[in-house]
């Protein structure tokens, strides 16, 4: 069983839609939950991070962590064509250095 599972998509939505991206994980020791965004032919960049459970909002982006279900989500409101990218979830243990990345979900937002 992989440590983190993420649907690779692609996911295609019209401009203005609410997008939901998700990952499931198996190791309950993960405490830091991150979302990276990767544009084509670029390296990933950190979008948001959450420590332990709960929600975090930043503009049009909301990250949710449900540790009881081992399920994390990223919501994008009022999606824009510029949001078209691959979104990777990433998880890390407290005190550790190794970050485990999901496979990434390719998102296309059509104008």
């Amino acid at each position: 069983q992989k440590e983190v599972e993420q649907d690779p998509g692609p996911l295609s939505v019209p401009e203005g839609a609410i997008v939901s991206l998700n990952c499931t994980y198996s190791n309950s020791a993960f405490q830091y939950f991150m979302w990276y965004r990767q544009y084509s032919r670029k390296g990933p960049e950190l979008l948001m991070y959450t420590y332990s459970s709960g929600n975090k909002e930043d503009g049009r982006f909301t990250a949710q962590v449900d540790k009881s279900s081992k399920y994390i989500s990223l919501f994008i409101r009022d999606s824009q064509p510029s949001d078209s990218a691959t979104y990777l979830c990433a998880l890390k243990n407290t005190g550790g250095f190794k970050t485990i990345f999901g496979a990434g979900t390719r998102l296309f937002v059509k104008a």
């Binding site: 950190l46 250095f97 970050t99 999901g102 990434g104």
Partner: protein, 116 residues
């Protein structure tokens, strides 16, 4: 300031040849990571450096792969006797190396390796 840089940006080589990929991390970052990303797939961890030492080499796929870091700065990933399955984008990232935190990784643009 400057971000993480990698060179070359593209490398085409013939099967059986050796290649060296270079990573220049952000100045002052003690942690450095190498990942492999095959087409349409996620990031595959290869190796992690803390300073000049590599406490975690668990991701190196075979003994054809090696990496070193000098001066707590530049790192080189070497692939010997390249095979076609080595074709991928090789990404380098650096971070402050702080345990007990998200320790945000900053990625370079990657080196796209094609083995013919």
């Amino acid at each position: 300031g400057a971000g993480v840089s990698q060179s070359p940006s593209n490398k085409v080589t013939e099967k059986g040849k050796d290649v060296e990929l270079r990573c220049d991390p952000i100045s002052g970052h003690t942690a450095l990571y190498w990942y492999r990303q095959r087409l349409g797939q996620g990031l595959e961890f290869l190796i992690y450096f803390q300073g000049n030492s590599a406490p975690d080499k668990s991701g190196l796929p075979s003994d054809r792969f090696s990496a070193e870091r000098t001066g707590e700065s530049v790192s080189t990933l070497t692939i010997q006797r390249t095979q076609q399955e080595d074709s991928a984008v090789y990404l380098c990232a650096s971070s402050g190396g702080l345990a007990g935190s998200t320790d945000t990784q900053y990625f370079g643009p990657g080196t796209r390796l094609t083995v013919l």
